[in-house]
């Protein structure tokens, strides 16, 4: 039985749909990242899961029980979880009292509270600051205290909303390390939202993509990044080459897709006549100065239209009848003497593509 399950969860606000038909199923001990652009509804969904708000329609089941019960029952359920809000807000009290607050609300004895708080303060490295007023902490320290407040409760479910969004890179890294440690050490179920794909990949077992109030895809990070389920997901997970077209022919799991400016062969089993989007990750596109004899099914001639650097890599825009982006090392960019207007040969394998049905046109 999943620990948390949602059933056609909808949330409307001022007549606007924030969330539409969310169906989630989360196992105990799982770490789920909700990724999606700003305004997609991540916070709204987390607030519903944390039982801070009630949905317009739909149901949430926690540990098998529908949480739409009496306030008392909801409080009881809520006390099995802890939610770290996006904007870390210190209570105007000492660091110690901040971390102790949830424990005290649960009616724990003084000694129990002290042991737990000291242990957690040690973990976040703020033991020395226990008597400091939490309002005087830096952003990064405060976020750690906010996480400490939550994990001090040993919650069955830990919910985190954009845990590193408002932090400088150094604090963000420290906070993420802390979270990674928490996830390693505890058996808690964790649901976190982030707009940082890489963070989702690093921390989560599964990733749910939330776009415009819906979850078009949920799966392992490999599923999401290699085989995005829809054009929006593909766009959001950073597939830069998304080529729309129609399947012309199909043979032995390989289809030929007419994308207007050319024909692409891709591994897929979709039917002839189906409208599709073909995704090609830029790192899978190879550039060369002469036509290579390779097993790659797709080979085009094109001109470089734009060059930009991406850290140790170079991003190369090529016009080969249709626009394509390739990612090569700076070294090879130099070797190839790439510059705007340079003619290059572009190849990628049929197996390096991912075909998405664009269903509305089928």
């Amino acid at each position: 039985m999943p620990l948390i399950e949602t059933n056609d969860l909808c949330q409307r606000y001022d007549g606007r749909h924030i969330l539409r038909n969310i169906n989630l199923s989360i196992e105990a001990g799982e770490v789920l990242a909700l990724i999606g652009p700003t305004g997609a509804g991540k916070t709204t969904l987390l607030r519903l899961l944390a039982l801070l708000d009630t949905p317009t329609s739909g149901a949430i089941f926690f540990d098998g029980a529908n949480v739409a019960g009496s306030p008392r029952f909801r409080l009881e359920m809520r006390r099995r979880m802890a939610f770290v809000l996006q904007k870390p807000m210190a209570f105007n009290a000492s660091v110690y009292d901040n971390v102790a607050s949830g424990l005290r609300w649960r009616g724990l004895g003084r000694a129990e509270v002290r042991d737990q708080v000291e242990r957690v303060l040690e973990m976040i490295g703020l033991s020395a600051d226990r008597n400091r007023n939490a309002r005087t902490l830096s952003g990064g320290e405060m976020q750690r205290v906010a996480i400490a407040r939550a994990i001090a409760l040993d919650p069955e479910v830990l919910l985190l909303d954009e845990p590193t969004a408002n932090l400088d890179p150094v604090s963000a890294r420290r906070t993420e390390e802390l979270l990674a440690a928490v996830i390693r050490q505890r058996s808690a179920t964790v649901i976190l939202s982030t707009h940082d794909l890489a963070q989702g990949q690093r921390l989560a077992d599964r990733i749910g993509v939330l776009i415009n109030g819906e979850i078009p895809q949920i799966g392992t990070s490999r599923d999401i990044f290699v085989s995005p389920g829809s054009r929006e997901v593909a766009e959001f997970v950073g597939v830069e080459n998304i080529l729309d077209g129609t399947v012309l022919s199909s043979a032995e799991d390989v289809v030929t897709v007419d994308i207007g400016g050319g024909l692409i062969e891709a591994v897929s089993d979709v039917a002839v006549g189906q409208r599709v989007s073909v995704c090609v990750r830029p790192e899978n596109v190879t550039l060369a100065l002469s036509r290579l004899s390779s097993s790659a099914r797709n080979s085009f001639t094109g001109k470089v239209t734009w060059l930009s650097s991406a850290g140790p890599l170079a991003r190369v825009h090529v016009d080969c009848g249709f626009p394509l982006v390739a990612l090569v090392t700076r070294r090879s960019a130099a070797d190839l003497d790439l510059h705007i207007g340079r003619q290059v040969y572009v190849t990628f394998k049929a197996s390096a593509t991912h075909v998405i049905r664009t269903e509305r046109d089928s």
Partner: protein, 294 residues
Amino acid sequence: MALKHIRKGRTLLAGILLIIVLASTVLTGCGAETPVLEPKARLKLATTTSLYDTGLWGHLETLFEKKYGVELDILYAGTGKALELGRRGDVDVLAVHDLPSEERFIADGYGVKRVPFAYNYFIIVGPSADPAGIKGLSPEAAFIKVKETSGAFVSRGDDSGTHAKEKAIWKAAGLDYEMVRQSGQWYIEAGSGMGPTLMMASEKRAYTLTDIGTFLAYKGKLDLVPLVDKGETLLNVYAAIAVNPEKVKGVNYDMANNLIGFLTSTGIQKLIGDYGVKEYGTPLFSAYSDEVEQ
């Protein structure tokens, strides 16, 4: 955990209760000698302001309280207001001085019996220059003179016994009170007690009607002299009335009767008759004896 939670709630509740209990303790305490929430231990008296302003009650209060072991609460109110408090049951006993309204009070069943306990006289006082020239006139003639010359006159204007007496004098002078009241700025309605009214008359260099007791008690603070002190209408009798427990529920009738008995006892009658000699050189009241009313 749930149990602990409940226990916390109880602690909070207990805390609030404790505050309330403490509050009422302090209230009833306020010094242990004055308990508040025991109705039986208190007697509420509404007294005419002229008796109060002379300081007579301040004198009698301690004697009475000592004798009966009761707290005497004295409310300062004109006769009219005092009678109203009696009708509402907010006081147990009255000390007032307006015969007609006292009789009505008893006829309506609110009072049991009217017991006179002191008397003195009203006087008309005014600035020593006496601009209206009323010195030595009868009260009625003096009032007419003041009105004709538009000399300023301060009226109690508070439905008190003194106010009732003033109205009676206007009537005896053949004037309609309502007409007098509205005849110009010379007629000032103070709407307060005897002492304050005297203070106001002195400030405004005006005439006023006062009982002699309050006037003597205030004489040192005033720029006023007695101008008219003779005339039958000027007799001023103070009477005590216990509120009728059969008509008004909850009043402390027994203690009210104790007070009336106390006031008419020989010792206190003598004390009333002597009151003021030491401070003002002359008594402020005469002890009441039956022949006064005849």
